[in-house]
């Protein structure tokens, strides 16, 4: 299900997961269902950022600052990633 992520929407990693860094990538284990997920380097950076609650606009602005990519494309990719994390109960979204 697609969540409408506003600029002010706050996102934080769920309590019911554990994760680890694998070089520049990351693995997440959903403790509710025992399923592993992997994140590419940019996904791993997003994951790192949402270890404490952040607004969508904060995440977007930090990444635009760090990566040399088209801002519109980056924003779309972040939305996509956060929605997939939400679909798999790996993040909590509020506001």
């Amino acid at each position: 299900m697609r969540t409408n992520l506003l600029e002010s929407t706050r996102i934080v990693a769920s309590q019911e997961q554990v994760s680890c860094n694998l070089g520049v990538e990351a693995a997440i284990l959903n403790l509710k269902n025992g399923i592993y997920y992997r994140l590419n380097p940019i996904g791993a950076r997003v994951w790192d950022l949402i270890q404490s609650p952040r607004s969508f606009v904060e995440i977007r602005d930090i990444l635009i600052d760090e990566y040399d990519v088209d801002p519109a494309r980056l924003e779309s990719d972040i939305r996509d990633l956060l929605n997939r994390l939400a679909d798999n109960q790996l993040v909590e979204i509020s506001g």
Binding site: V18, S19, C20, N21, L22, A27, L31, G34, R38
Partner: protein
């Protein structure tokens, strides 16, 4: 119901007449086992006892058994965190919640060798995981004092490749279950039972006149071969590399032997995929598995090994691995 919380520490009871060493564990057993006697410092103590059929039927009364479709293996989680498992025609096992005691019963039709295999791998894996270890499904050979582990599903050729190493005078550390422990100098692999499971044709080719102890189970064509002290290593060795074997279907017959390093993400997945025990799924265990596996990835190189499944190629695969190891240990060797 069994009260594992009230279970006394598994230091020898009167019933534990034998003390063996396997996987770095001191196994206090009521029954004799084909294992070396326990001699050195151990990672944990586990007690093994036998019980009559009524003990098991009482323990699982009213508890549904899980069974995969077509499988001859049944499993139950008991409310006190004990685990029950049984393999048709082999035996049944109950592992206490703290992992310090296994109660077992061989079925009448089971051969002793087959029972030992399931006891010392499948059943013991429950006790190891409950005791805080993360066993892998792997076969390990010893090359110049270093362990080389082969990962892969059943039928991928781990044991056949290991037998080819034995043929060249190397030793087997373990076949099936691998227990690893990080230490100051790296990662140590611990010795398993001195036996290997092979098809008769593979054994004839690589082991010569070693006598088979019996079938692994009635549905398998693999036989169990006990190994002598020359062919088995009884001390922990440092692990220098882990090879994940490509499945036979992934490799075409004329393909070259290929060994390539796996990136950390892929290494992690290969190791998690090859856990020995997929039944214990509580959050504490899963969390530990994640962190232990990530740690292992950071300490030991994991490589993907592809080779055609042709008999005469196995010695070349062995030599390629030995050359690979020299590169891992001494980058100047082998022309790199």
């Amino acid at each position: 119901m069994i009260d594992s919380g009230a279970c006394e520490p598994a230091v020898v009871t009167n019933a534990s007449r034998h003390v063996y060493g396997v996987y770095g564990i001191a196994l206090y057993s009521e029954i004799p086992l084909p294992l070396p006697l326990h001699e050195q410092g151990e990672l944990a103590q586990i007690e093994l006892r036998t019980a009559p059929a009524s003990f098991f039927s009482d323990a699982i009364r009213g508890i549904p058994l899980e069974r995969a479709s077509g499988s001859w293996y049944e499993f139950a989680r008991l409310p006190d965190r004990s685990s029950y498992a049984r393999w048709r025609t082999v035996g049944e096992f109950l592992v206490f919640g703290d992992g310090r005691r296994i109660v077992c019963r061989p079925f009448d039709m089971a051969s002793a060798e087959s029972f030992y295999v399931y006891l010392l791998a499948q059943a013991l894996s429950f006790a190891l995981v409950k005791s805080g270890f993360e066993p892998l499904h792997a076969t390990v050979v010893v090359v110049n004092g270093n362990g080389v582990a082969f990962l892969g599903d059943s039928g991928f050729g781990k044991s056949s490749l290991a037998a080819c190493f034995l043929d060249a005078g190397h030793q087997l550390l373990t076949d099936d279950l691998l227990l690893l422990q990080a230490c100051s100098s790296g990662v140590l692999a611990y010795p398993g039972p001195p036996r290997i499971k092979l098809r008769a044709t593979t054994a004839r080719r690589f082991l010569g006149d070693v006598l088979a102890g019996g079938r692994m189970n009635p549905e398998s064509d693999k036989l169990i071969f006990r190994l002598d002290g020359k062919r088995s290593c009884f001390t922990p060795v440092p692990v220098k590399a882990v090879y994940s074997l490509a499945g036979p279907q992934e490799v075409v017959r004329k393909e070259q032997i290929r060994s390539e390093p796996l990136p950390p993400r892929q290494s992690f997945l290969e190791l998690v995929k090859n856990t020995f025990n997929r039944r214990i799924l509580d959050a504490d265990r899963l969390e530990r598995q994640l962190h232990e596996t990530a740690r292992l990835v950071s300490l030991v190189p994991v490589r993907k090994l592809s080779y055609p499944r042709v008999w005469r190629q196995l010695p070349s695969v062995r030599e390629a691995i030995i050359c690979d190891l020299q590169q891992v240990l001494e980058p100047a060797v082998c022309g790199h």
